[in-house]
C-alpha cells in the first residue's frame, strides 16, 4: 500500500495530474493547486490511524447488487438522433466530428 502523501505535491505532479484530468493549467494555477490539493489531502490523513484491514469497502450503500435487464437493442427515433446531434459542436454526415488523434 502506498503511504498517503505528507508534503506538498510537486509542480511536476500537478502538471501530470492536469494532463490526466484534461484540464489546461497556467503556472499560477499549478501553484494554487499545489496548495489547495495538499491541504485537502492533509485533512484526509486523519483516516490513516483507523484500522480497516478486515473491513470490506462499500459497493452499493444499501446493498443492492446485480440489477439485471435483458440485453435488448431499442431503436432511437430520427428526432432523438437529430436532437442529440444538434448539441454537437461539430457534426458531419450525422456523426460527431473529432480532430485527428495522431
Amino acid at each position: 500500500m502506498v503511504h498517503v502523501m505528507c508534503c506538498m505535491l510537486t509542480k511536476d505532479e500537478i502538471k501530470h495530474v492536469a494532463v490526466l484530468a484534461r484540464i489546461g493549467v497556467s503556472d499560477e494555477d499549478i501553484e494554487r493547486y499545489q496548495k489547495d490539493l495538499s491541504s485537502i489531502l492533509d485533512y484526509f490523513k486523519e483516516l490513516e490511524g483507523i484500522n480497516t484491514d478486515s473491513v470490506e469497502e462499500i459497493g452499493h450503500i444499501t446493498g443492492r447488487f446485480n440489477a439485471m435487464r435483458g440485453d435488448n437493442v431499442s431503436d432511437s427515433t430520427e428526432k432523438e438522433k437529430e436532437d442529440i446531434l444538434k448539441n454537437a459542436p461539430k457534426e458531419r454526415d450525422g456523426q460527431f466530428q473529432v480532430k485527428s488523434v495522431f
Binding site: M1, V19, A21, E56, I61, R69, F96, K99, V101
Partner: protein, 477 residues
C-alpha cells in the same frame, strides 16, 4: 399548501392557468434581486396548465399535483429546454430527453415554471459557484440561500414556486432548506431515479423535494420515488402515498442525539436546538444520547470519495459531443485533440469544479487508488455500521441541519475548507445512504432579521414514513 390548491382547482375557485400566471408574476417581480431562476419555461407551463384545466372542466380525476406550479434545479434534464448545471461548459446545452423525475411530474400534470440556479454541477454550499451569479436569500438579500440547490430553496421561500426539486450529495437540499426556513428532504439512496440528473458523485447523489410543509414534501416524494430501469441503482418502488401516513403521533418513538455533536456550536443555535429537543419530549418521544464513533470522519472521507466520482463523471464534458468546445489553438502547430480537451475544460469549468476534478484525478491515479478511494470506502463501511448500531437503539437521529444560519455573501469564498465545514451535519446521511429531512425549528436574530435554523432528522434506510411523520408532528404542534 398542495392539498388546498388542489381543492381550489377541482372546485373551480381558481384555474391552473390563473395560478401559473400568478407565479410568473411573482417571479418577474422578485427574480431580478434573488436570481433563483436561470430559465423560464412559460410556454410549456401554460400549455400544461391549460391541459389540466380542460381535464377539470370535463370532470376527469386529476392527481394531487396536477396543475400546480413547480420548478427544477437546473441539473435535471427537461426535453427541449436549456440545462446548464450553472456551468459555462453547458451554456448552450439543450437537453434531448426528460429526466425520469421530470417525465413522472409531467405525466402527473405538474406545471414546470423553469429551472433554478445552483453551484456549478452542484459543487458548493452557497450557490456562489454558479457561472450565472449568486442566488440571494429571500429573508436577507445580503446573505446566501445555501447550496448547492440555492435557487430551488429560494424559489420556494419567496413563493416563486409551490415546490421545487433539488439534488443532495452532501447536504445540497437540507442546508439551503435550513438557510431559507423551509422543508427539504433527502430520500434514502436509490429511492429516486437519477436518470437525467447531471451526475456529480453517483454513490451519493439523490433527488428530493423542497416545500413549505412536511406534508407537501411527502406528497412530492411519494410520486417521484419509484424503480427505474434506466437507473440500475434504484430501489424497488415503495408504492405508498407517504402523505397518508402522517398521523401526528410520535409517542414512544426514540430519538437519538449524537454525543459530542454540539461541541463548539454557536450558543444561540444550541439554545434553539435544545428547545426543539424539549418539544419532541413533550410530544411523547424519548430522547437519548447515542454514539456514532466514526461520524467525525465523514467530512474527510467525503472529500475523497466525492472528488473521485466527480473526476470520473465529468470526464464526459470533452467538447466533442455537446457543450462548449474551445477550438482556437492558433499558436499550436499541432492543434490536436488533446489541446481541444485541455482548453475546453480550462475555460468551461469554474475554479471549484476544477479543484475537485484535479483532486479526484490525483486520488484515482496509478498507485494511489488503494490509499485514497479504497481506504475511504472502507471507512465509509464503518460509518454505515455505526448507523446500523444506532438504529437498533433509536428510531431517529436529531441534530441541527447546519452549524450556522445563512452566512453573508462572500464570507467564505476564499477558503474551500471553511466552506466544506458548512456540511458537517448533513454529510453523514449521504455517506451512510440513510434518509434525512430538514425542517424549521426556530430563528436567530441577526442584523435585525429573524434568520431561520433547521433541524435535521435522519432515519434508518427506507424509513421515510416514520421520519416524515416525526417531522410533521413537530411542525404541526
Amino acid at each position: 399548501m398542495i392539498r388546498e390548491l388542489h381543492e381550489k382547482l377541482v372546485k373551480g375557485e381558481i384555474t391552473s392557468v390563473e395560478l401559473t400566471e400568478k407565479y410568473f408574476d411573482v417571479i418577474e417581480k422578485k427574480n431580478g434581486e434573488l436570481n433563483a431562476f436561470l430559465t423560464l419555461t412559460k410556454e410549456e407551463a401554460l400549455e400544461q396548465a391549460q391541459f389540466v384545466d380542460e381535464k377539470i372542466k370535463k370532470g376527469e380525476k386529476i392527481d394531487l399535483i396536477a396543475g400546480i406550479p413547480m420548478a427544477l434545479k437546473d441539473n435535471m434534464c427537461m426535453d427541449g429546454v436549456r440545462t446548464t448545471a450553472s456551468s459555462k461548459i453547458l451554456d448552450n446545452y439543450i437537453a434531448p430527453y426528460d429526466a425520469t423525475v421530470v417525465r413522472i411530474l409531467k405525466e402527473k400534470g405538474a406545471v414546470i415554471l423553469g429551472k433554478t440556479n445552483l453551484d456549478e454541477f452542484a459543487m458548493g454550499s452557497s450557490t456562489e459557484n454558479s457561472a450565472y451569479g449568486v442566488t440571494r436569500n429571500p429573508i436577507d438579500s445580503e446573505r446566501v440561500a445555501g447550496g448547492s440547490s440555492g435557487g430551488s430553496a429560494a424559489a420556494v421561500a419567496a413563493d416563486m414556486a409551490v415546490y421545487t426539486l433539488g439534488s443532495d450529495t452532501g447536504g445540497s437540499i437540507r442546508q439551503p432548506a435550513s438557510f431559507c426556513g423551509i422543508v427539504g428532504l433527502k430520500p434514502t439512496y436509490g429511492r429516486v431515479s437519477r436518470h437525467g440528473l447531471l451526475a456529480m458523485a453517483s454513490s451519493l447523489d439523490q433527488i428530493g423535494p423542497f416545500a413549505t410543509s412536511v406534508e407537501d414534501a411527502a406528497i412530492i416524494f411519494s410520486r417521484i420515488a419509484c424503480e427505474d430501469k434506466k437507473d440500475a441503482t434504484c430501489a424497488p418502488s415503495a408504492e405508498k402515498n407517504f402523505e397518508d401516513y402522517l398521523n401526528g403521533d410520535i409517542k414512544g418513538k426514540r430519538i437519538g442525539v449524537v454525543k459530542g455533536h454540539l461541541d463548539g456550536l454557536d450558543e444561540k443555535i444550541k439554545k434553539r436546538f435544545a428547545e426543539a429537543v424539549e418539544k419532541f419530549e413533550s410530544l411523547g418521544a424519548e430522547v437519548k444520547e447515542i454514539v456514532l464513533p466514526h461520524s467525525k470522519y465523514s467530512l474527510s472521507t467525503y472529500y475523497i470519495i466525492m472528488p473521485c466520482e466527480v473526476s470520473s463523471n465529468l470526464a464526459r464534458l470533452d467538447g466533442i459531443r455537446y457543450g462548449l468546445s474551445v477550438d482556437d489553438q492558433k499558436d499550436s502547430k499541432m492543434g490536436n485533440l488533446l489541446e481541444t480537451y485541455l482548453d475546453t475544460r480550462r475555460v468551461g469549468f469554474g475554479d471549484e469544479v476544477k479543484r475537485r476534478i484535479m483532486l479526484g484525478t490525483y486520488a484515482l491515479s496509478a498507485g494511489y487508488y488503494d490509499a485514497y478511494y479504497k481506504k475511504a470506502q472502507k471507512v465509509r463501511a464503518l460509518i454505515r455500521k455505526d448507523f446500523e448500531e444506532a438504529f437498533k437503539q433509536v428510531d431517529f437521529i436529531f441534530s441541527p441541519t447546519a452549524p450556522e444560519v445563512a452566512f453573508k455573501i462572500g464570507e467564505k469564498t476564499t477558503d474551500p475548507l471553511k466552506m466544506y465545514l458548512s456540511d458537517i451535519y448533513t454529510i453523514s446521511a449521504n455517506m451512510a445512504g440513510v434518509p434525512a429531512i430538514s425542517f424549521p425549528i426556530g430563528t436567530v436574530k441577526e442584523d435585525g432579521k429573524e434568520l431561520p435554523i433547521g433541524g435535521q432528522l435522519m432515519a434508518a434506510w427506507f424509513d421515510e414514513e416514520g421520519m416524515l411523520n416525526a417531522a410533521h408532528t413537530f411542525e404541526t404542534n
